[in-house]
């Protein structure tokens, strides 16, 4: 993406007869960022459409199939509803905490997609420690969530913030241990190199199957989807830490949820499912096919299971997933040492 935006930027600056190299560099990155945002938004819209259609099939709802041709306008109906609502700041809420945490959460979620490459030639940036960077950014959210819950001046939001932070903290550990096992086998933290490794040898879902399962469960908990939905538990806490946010702010939180789903599914595909490898079609098409398949699995799970209680969520994280992740890392070490992979 850098080269394309570089060409566009130089073309614009030449047309305007300005000649600062620093400006050239900045404008390149600005155009690249705008392109990234457009891609993310298009992806999110398609993801929401996929989720509505699939849930509509499961739950026998009529909306997604009747509104517009093949239900395309359902998305716009939802977005429009959010846009016309009033944005409320509660009276005793801390304005700075309330608004700034929104910005932090949205920005950090968009940032994850920036470090995840989508094809060998199509990435925003591809750092050498891309894997660690992605998970470090993933982990910014719990801080902002607990501040948002506290800043809302609402007992329910506070409880929701606590639950969310506890859940995310306890699922970070098995997640990161699994990721380390992948990096151990592949020998690198760079996403593109991990995919190249999988193309050369075998998709890592085979040998590290336990790790795949742990990663799947932990990423669903990180994204706060049902069944690990307790911070957002509608039946108990109205809407958890997001309760007091109204209108466009709430729409932005929903957007973040889908962006993180996309990022989580993309990382899972890159680490375990072979990234962009596939027979006939170009790499980027295979990447998107796999990401949407993983996302369909997330929606399927959402449609079928009830919500897990918060102390049971933490039980699963610490007592079931952590030992499995440790077993997985031992298996990965054995595979690496014996030279099979």
């Amino acid at each position: 993406m850098y080269s394309i935006s570089n060409t566009i930027a130089t073309a614009i600056l030449n047309a305007l007869h300005i000649n600062y190299p620093l400006l050239d560099y900045l404008l390149t990155w600005v155009i690249a960022s705008i392109a990234l945002l457009i891609i993310i938004v298009i992806n999110v819209i398609v993801l929401i459409y996929v989720e509505r259609k699939e849930l509509g099939r499961f739950m026998d709802r009529r909306g997604p199939f009747v509104v517009g041709p093949a239900g395309v306008f359902q998305n716009f109906a939802d977005m429009f509803k959010f846009l016309i609502k009033e944005m409320i700041l509660p009276e005793n809420a801390d304005g700075l905490g309330f608004n700034s945490t929104l910005v932090i959460i949205v920005a950090s979620s968009l940032l994850i997609v920036a470090v995840v490459p989508e094809a060998p030639y199509f990435f925003y940036t591809n750092p050498d420690l891309g894997l660690l960077l992605a998970f470090a950014i993933f982990a910014i959210e719990p801080f902002a969530v607990v501040i948002a819950g506290w800043a809302s001046n609402n007992k329910y939001s506070l409880l929701g913030g606590f639950r969310s932070t506890a859940q995310m903290m306890s699922y970070e550990v098995p997640l990161l241990i699994t990721v380390i096992s992948v990096a151990l086998v592949a020998g690198t933290f760079n996403f593109s190199s991990i995919v190249t490794f999988q193309e050369k040898h075998v998709w890592l879902v085979g040998p590290l199957f336990i790790g795949f399962i742990v990663f799947l469960i932990a990423i669903v908990a990180e994204i706060e989807r049902i069944p690990f939905d307790t911070p957002d538990a509608e039946a108990e806490l109205v809407h958890g830490w997001m309760t007091e946010y109204a209108g466009v702010k709430f729409a932005l939180f929903q957007l973040t949820s889908y962006v993180r789903s996309f990022a989580g599914a993309a990382i899972m595909v890159l680490l375990f499912l072979g990234g962009w490898e596939g027979p006939f079609l170009p790499a980027i098409v295979w990447f998107y096919i796999k990401v949407y398949a993983v996302f369909t699995l997330f929606v399927w799970v959402r449609g079928s299971l009830p919500r897990v209680r918060i102390d049971q969520v933490l039980n699963i994280g610490w007592r079931s997933l952590l030992p499995l992740a440790l077993i997985n890392i031992v298996i990965a070490a054995l595979f690496k040492m014996s030279g099979v992979i």
């Binding site: 509608e234 039946a235 009830p306 919500r307 209680r309 918060i310 102390d311 049971q312």
Partner: protein, 360 residues
């Protein structure tokens, strides 16, 4: 963290109807609870003192709007006991069919709201879809989907349509197949089991002492079902079982209600087969003498009881309604102590609250 009182309600997504539950929590564990009701109090019993006996039947539906037919039936039975009226046998059979269809519909509403509380939105829509079939049956029978106004003092207002038995049997076959599928969908998930098993313990002696009746009592191992213990209407003619579970927790009450739905299908089939011909309205009284009468039935939620006292005029002097949910909610603190705040929706959901009858 010190103990603090949290107000859950009155406006709260999981409270079906308007009531408040104040819980005293120590961290996440509930130490004490206090339900506050009365937001929907309409002064029903005083309202009845200004209406003639037949005029009370339409407003009895509004007592518990989810199980309206059984409240109509209780009131009409109480007045018939007061007057010693003989109800024709065909009317009794059709009343039983309507009651059992209403029981299935009411339990389906319970299922959908219970699963919504737990987070499974799919079961909510599935149960509502099945309920549509039964509401359509009741609409064929009496013309209304929710507030029926169907029984009359001395029988029923109209006979059933000619093709009602075939329609009914078709729907029952379809429903039993689908209910098996939904049972499997819900119970196979470990998440459902860990949220409902071991939660909300209510011992049998506590249940009997606190006046709890209905599925909550049968889920604690006490096989008291008023259709067998104290039979009324045409129930002695039918062969069905009392659904009892021994575990005393939320899962047991869930299983009791699912089994009751199957038993209701059995009863409807037997009633349709044995239906006697004849009139559906007996002798309609014109003069209501001084006296009193009472009747109790097995509402989908417990023991519904109606006491009517007449003073010789055409309006009653005193009407008293005992609602099962009023008493079960007062027993709720016993079931909540020691569990977590996150268990409140599943425990209160298993009691199947309908505020209309509780507040009258």
């Amino acid at each position: 963290m010190a103990e603090m009182w949290i107000n859950m309600g009155p406006q709260h997504p999981f409270t079906h109807g308007l009531w408040t539950l104040r819980v005293k929590v120590d961290g996440e564990t509930i130490v004490d609870a206090e339900p506050i009701i009365g937001y929907l109090h309409r002064g029903f019993e005083k309202l009845c003192e200004n209406r003639t006996y037949p005029q009370i039947i339409p407003i009895c539906d509004r007592l518990c709007y989810v199980a309206a037919m059984s409240w109509d039936h209780v009131y009409v039975s109480a007045v018939e006991n007061m007057l010693d009226l003989e109800v024709p046998l065909r009317a009794e059979y059709i009343r039983v069919i309507a009651l059992e269809i209403q029981r299935i519909a009411s339990h389906l509403v319970w299922l959908s709201s219970f699963m919504t509380d737990l987070g499974n939105l799919t079961a909510f829509l599935y149960a509502m879809r099945e309920r549509e079939m039964f509401i359509d049956l009741l609409q064929a029978l009496c013309g209304a989907r929710m507030t029926y106004n169907y029984p009359r003092i001395g029988g029923l207002s109209q006979d059933m349509p000619r093709d009602f038995p075939q329609q009914c049997l078709k729907i029952l076959d379809l429903f039993e197949r689908r209910l098996k599928e939904y049972e499997y969908l819900i119970e196979e998930s470990e998440v459902f089991r860990i949220r409902t098993q071991g939660v909300g313990y209510l011992s049998p002696s506590d249940a009997i002492n606190l006046g709890v009746t209905g599925p909550a009592l049968r889920g604690s191992g006490v096989p008291v079902d008023l259709r067998k213990t104290d039979p009324y209407s045409a129930y002695p003619d039918f062969d069905f079982e009392v659904c009892v579970e021994k575990d005393c927790d939320v899962y047991a009450r869930y299983r009791v209600r699912i089994n009751e739905m199957y038993e209701s299908c059995k009863i409807i089939r037997q009633a349709l087969k044995k239906m006697p011909p004849g009139p559906v309205l007996g002798k309609v009284p014109h003069h209501y003498p001084k006296g009193e009468g009472y009747a109790r039935t097995e509402d989908p939620r417990g023991e519904a009881f109606f006491y009517v006292q007449g003073d010789g005029t055409d309006r009653p002097y005193r009407v008293k309604i005992r609602s099962p949910i009023f008493v079960t909610v007062s027993a709720a603190p016993k079931m909540l102590k020691g569990y977590k705040v996150a268990d409140v929706p599943s425990i209160m959901g298993s009691l199947d609250m309908c505020l209309g009858e509780s507040d009258r």
